[in-house]
Each structure stands twice: as C-alpha cells, then as structure tokens.
C-alpha cells in the first residue's frame, strides 16, 4: 500500500483550563491513504474539531498538551520547526471551515487572500498568482470568476463563499483537505452541490479528504470510509457500506437509528441514545460509552476496550462486538 497521507497514532489532546484538565482526545488512531475520503462522525463535543486542528497544530501550545504521533506524508507534525509547519499548513494540507464568512478575512478580497496564500508558499509573481487564483475559482465552479476575484467575502452568497474557501484551501495543491462541517451552514440544495464538488475534486486531483459531518447521508455520498468518534476515541471505523449496513458498535447503531430524526444536529441530544457523553475533565475508566450502553457488562467499565477487526477492514472498540459480528443482524 502507498504511504498514507495522514497517519494518527495514539493522539491525546488535553486542554488546561484553570485547575481543570479537559481530555478532548484520548488515544485516537486514524489512517487516510492517498485520494481517500474519510467521514468523521460523532456527537457534539466528541473531539472532531480538536483532531482536525491538531493535524495542523493550530492550538496554542501554552494551554494544550499533546501526546501521540501525527504523520502527514510520513513527516512527524510534532517535530516540525516554524518553517516546516508553514510549509505543512496550506502546502501539504488545506483546511475548510464550517462558516466561511467567519473564516475569511472580511477586509481582504477573495483574490487577495488566494494570491497571498500562493505567494506565501511559492516564489511566483503577483500576476502569475492572480492567474492561478482565477484558475482555482474556475476549478471550484464559481461563475464569472473574474468578477468574484475582486469581491469581498460578504459580497458573495453562502455557497459561493464556501467554494471560494475551498479554492483558497486548494491554492497550493495540498494532498489532504481537512473540512470541518463544510456544509452545515448552507441551505440544503447548496449543501448537495458543495458535497458533489468535494467528491469531484477528490477524483480529479487525487485529493485525500477528511471531513467532519453531522449528516450521515452526506457521509454516504462522499466518503470511502466512515470513522465514528466518541469521547475522543474512534469507536468504529470501516468502509461506508459495511459500517452503514452492519454497524458493530452500539453507539454507531444508536446514531444510525436516530438519523431519520436528524438528531446529529449540533448541540442536540441524540434521542435514540439516552444520557449524555461523559465529562471530559473526569473520563470514566473503561468504555466511555458504558453509562449509556444498554448492552454493557460489568467488564466494560473496568478497562478501555481494544480496537479489534472482527470483519476485515472494519474495526471496532467494543468488548462484545465479536458476538454480533459473527451473527450479522
């Protein structure tokens, strides 16, 4: 197999806030191959955004403790110096945010921001960079791109703004695109267009994509694989079809059962799963899902279940998964 674009091993992220220590990510493993699209799903507060931010080391180092390893194209992110980090950010990995109106600088035009990003990474003239910016807007199907290049973010519609944001993230030909809920802030019809655009870019550019979504339908549409995260750990991960058709983790089953009610909406409790995620300042000793799990055994709260692969290519972190993996529901 080719060298993975992203390889996360045992990632732990702890925030210090006063005397409290919030363990937002608690030993997370995730691998993404070249050109592969992975959807990261899970409840609000499960550590999705934190994981994405860590790939680019965007959190202030003063208040953030990080353990484990993140490799991008084989390069250890934690060991990069300032210059290496700048090359990684934007150069190897592009990032798209949920709300492009907040994530773009309001007092610079779209074109200025793309030109700036290109020239921060490559020694090209302003005119050359501008020509490439125009090319990028065409790539993401922005209509009349010449005009849009000189527009300020607030002058564009939500959909166009997100396309511009994607163009910006792709401006230095990254191998990996991180997208944190790229469509949540958009209208339903526009959401689908942006998802299709991501799919198209993945195929045309051989781009690997890690995207966070609350929309399982979107995950099915775009992703090759789905990773389910709970309380800072991946609890299930596998090919889309396998995870959707025969989920192995009780939490994933709850999520899928609740999708008809749109229960993954940010900030809302999941109806099909009673209770709420654990307090990250005082994580439980065993399986973090145990207090909410109707199938929990006594052994579940003693130690964290290991990641197992009862079905080839389909991993799960549950003591009892083998029981129903053997006899598919």
């Amino acid at each position: 197999m080719a060298e993975p674009v992203l390889e996360i091993r045992g990632l732990e992220v702890t925030y210090r806030r006063g005397a409290e220590r919030i363990r937002a990510v608690a030993g997370l493993d995730l691998t993404i191959g070249p050109g592969e699209a992975v959807a990261l799903i899970g409840e609000s507060g499960s550590g999705k955004s934190v994981t994405l931010r860590q790939v680019l080391r965007l959190d202030p180092e003063r208040t953030t403790e990080v353990a484990g390893s993140i490799r991008v194209c084989g390069e250890e992110v934690g060991k990069l110096d300032a210059a290496g980090l700048r090359r990684l950010r934007g150069g190897r990995v592009g990032m798209v945010f949920q709300e492009p109106l907040l994530a773009l600088d309001p007092v610079y035009t779209v074109g200025q921001q793309i030109v700036e990003a290109i020239r921060a990474h490559e020694p090209v003239s302003r005119a050359e960079a501008r020509a490439r910016a125009l090319e990028l807007l065409r790539l993401v199907h922005v209509p009349s791109p010449e005009r849009r290049l000189d527009a300020y973010p607030h002058e564009l519609s939500g959909g166009l703004r997100q396309r511009a944001m994607i163009a910006l993230a792709l401006s230095c030909r990254p191998r990996l695109l991180l997208a944190d809920e790229p469509t949540t802030a958009l209208d339903a019809t526009v959401q689908i267009q942006v998802l299709l655009l991501l799919r198209e870019l993945q195929e045309r550019l051989g781009l690997a994509i890690l995207f966070v979504t609350h929309d399982i339908g979107a995950a099915v549409e775009i992703a090759d694989r789905i990773a389910v995260i709970y309380a800072g750990r991946i609890v299930e991960e596998g090919p889309v079809r396998s995870v959707i058709r025969s989920p192995l983790h009780p939490y994933t089953r709850g999520l899928l059962a609740s999708r008809t009610e749109g229960a993954l909406v940010k900030g809302r409790r999941i109806a099909a799963i009673p209770g709420s995620p654990p307090d990250l300042a005082r994580p439980p000793p065993g399986c973090a899902f145990a207090p909410r799990c109707s199938l929990a055994l006594e052994a579940c709260s003693r130690q964290v279940p290991k990641l197992e692969t009862p079905v080839p290519g389909h991993a799960v972190r549950c003591l009892r998964a083998r029981e129903w993996a053997a006899s598919p529901a």
Binding site: L56, G90, M95, L102, L104, D105, V107, A120
Partner: protein, 317 residues
C-alpha cells in the same frame, strides 16, 4: 462613496446653520443693550455709532442675522475690543497654533498608544501586556495639567533643557518651522499626548484581542502564513477603528486644551477663549466659538467619510 460624501455634507449644513445662529444670539443673550456687551465701557461715541451700524441693531433680528452671516461667510468676524484688531486674524492665528499643538500631540500619542495597544493585545495577559496596560492607565488617569507642571519643573526649571512657556523665542505667537519654535512645542505636546496615548492604547488592546479571537485568524494560520502576514491582517482589520479613534482624539484636543494652553501660555484657541472671557471681549468670543464649532462639524464629517472609505463592508453597501 461620492453620494455618501455629498449626503453627509448636506446633513452638516443645517447643523452649521444652528451653530451660527447660537453664536449670533450670544451677543443678544447678554442683558441690556447689546451694544453694551460689544463695547468697552469707555467707548467713544464714534466707535459706538460705528458698531451700531456694523451690527445693524436697529433692524429686525432675522435681517441682522442674515447680514451677520453674510459677513462671517466673507471672513469678517468683527473687531476685537481688547486689541482693536480684526477678530478673524486673531482667531486664525490661534487656530493655527492649536492645530500645530494638537497635531503633534496626537501624532505622539497615537504612535505610542498604537504600539502599546498592539503589543498588549497581541501578548494578552503576559508581563508585557501588564506593563503596557499599566502605562496606558497611568496616561488616562494622571491629571495632565499636573503632569505639565511636573515636566516644566523637571525639564525647564531643573535641567534647563526646554523653555517652559510661549510658542517661540521672545514671546512670538506666530508658529514657524524652526528649531527654536519646535523646542517650545515639545513640553506642551508631550503633556497633551498622554491623553490620546492612553485611550488609543486601551481601545487597540481590546480591538486586537477581539480580532485575534476571530476564526479567520486561525484560517490565516491554517494557510501557512507567517506571523508577520497575520499581523498585517490584524492591522488592516484594526485600521478603520484606530483611525476613527485618532480622529476623535484629535478633535477632542483641538477643543479641550484650555488647561494645557494656560499652563504653558501656548497662544492657541483655548488661551484666546480664556482671554476673551476674562476681558469680556464678546466679538472675539463669538468669532472663536463660531470657528471652533465649524471645525468640529467638519472634523466629524471627515472622520465619518474616511472611516467609511476604509471599510469595504460599509463602502460598497
């Protein structure tokens, strides 16, 4: 943008009309014969007649106002009682001196305040921030006439480096661009700069911290921009507000300098206003107030227009 500017000017016209009306009525508010308040007690009969004719006191008030306004627009603000010189030339010389002082004070205060504010906002809650903030608080809370006196005692009386009073050598009241005049400017300008410095520093610290907490800053870092480039973005985002604060501070200094001008005997409008009040020189008072008020209206207009021109979100709306 052009339309906005024109509209803004149009709005300023009625304000100006009101201001001039108040100035005009100043003479009539004083009890008794308006001539009494315009003339010195020992005025000759000739002067008395000349003034009565000049003001046209025998005509109805609205007509008087229009005539007075027409003359004022033509640059004729009457004659000072104390010096017997045209009020216009007295006022304009004073305005020139005040503007010079205020401009230097604002330049010093804005530069220092911007540096302190940016550093404090960028390194929030660090020792650098605490030092810069303390300095800024000191700047706002120290009474500036007191600071002025301390500076005079230190640099004039003790060290003898700088002159304590006046605008130039030999009691010159005319500003000139030479070292001798500049030496006279330093102490009052530094004293005055403390106010805008404190306010600019405080505003910018909060503003920079607010900008840095916005998501787009993480967006900039996520694109691999250097810290310097991020700084440039922060500056451009802060610029409209910073300039507006600077403009307002300049305006504030142009009007509120009676204390400092008196401490340093700086021959500006504050000094002139002070003199006009104590000498009951009503034409001079009238002229000074009219010019100052006009100045404020124009300043507000300019600040509004410039701020709008700098902010693309408003500019194209």
């Amino acid at each position: 943008m052009l339309r906005y500017t024109l509209r803004r000017i149009l709005y300023a016209l009625p304000i100006m009309l009101g201001v001039s009306l108040v100035c005009f009525l100043l003479v009539h508010i004083a009890p008794g014969d308006p001539l009494v308040s315009v003339l010195p007690p020992d005025a000759t009969e000739a002067l008395r007649r000349q003034m009565a004719e000049l003001y046209g006191f025998d005509r109805p008030l609205p007509e008087q106002f229009l005539r007075w306004l027409a003359r004022a627009l033509g640059g004729d603000l009457g004659t000072s009682i104390a010096t017997a010189r045209p009020v216009a030339s007295e006022v304009f010389r004073a305005v020139g001196n005040t503007v010079t002082l205020a401009a230097f004070a604002t330049a010093i205060g804005f530069t220092l305040g911007a540096i302190f504010g940016f550093v404090a906002g960028y390194f929030r809650d660090s020792p650098v921030d605490r030092a810069a903030s303390a300095l800024a608080v000191l700047g706002v809370s120290v009474p500036h006439y007191w600071l002025g006196m301390v500076l005079v005692i230190l640099f004039s009386a003790q060290l003898g480096w700088l002159p304590a009073t006046g605008a130039g050598p030999g009691g010159s009241t005319e500003w000139a661009w030479d070292w001798e005049h500049f030496r006279h400017l330093i102490l009052p300008a530094v004293t005055m700069s403390v106010i805008p410095m404190g306010i600019v520093a405080r505003t910018l610290r909060a503003l920079v911290a607010e900008i840095l907490s916005q998501e787009f800053v993480m967006g900039l870092r996520a694109r691999g921009l250097s810290e310097f480039a991020v700084f440039r973005h922060v500056v451009k985002n802060a610029a409209p507000t910073a300039l507006a604060v600077m403009g307002l501070q300049l305006g504030y200094l142009l009007g509120g300098s009676i204390l400092i001008e008196t401490v340093f005997s700086w021959p500006g409008t504050g000094f002139l206003l002070n003199a006009a009040i104590f000498q009951r020189d009503l034409p001079l008072l009238q002229g000074t107030i009219l010019v100052l008020a006009t100045f404020f209206v124009v300043l507000n207009l300019v600040v509004d227009v410039v701020q709008t021109a700098l902010d693309p979100r408003i500019r194209r709306a």
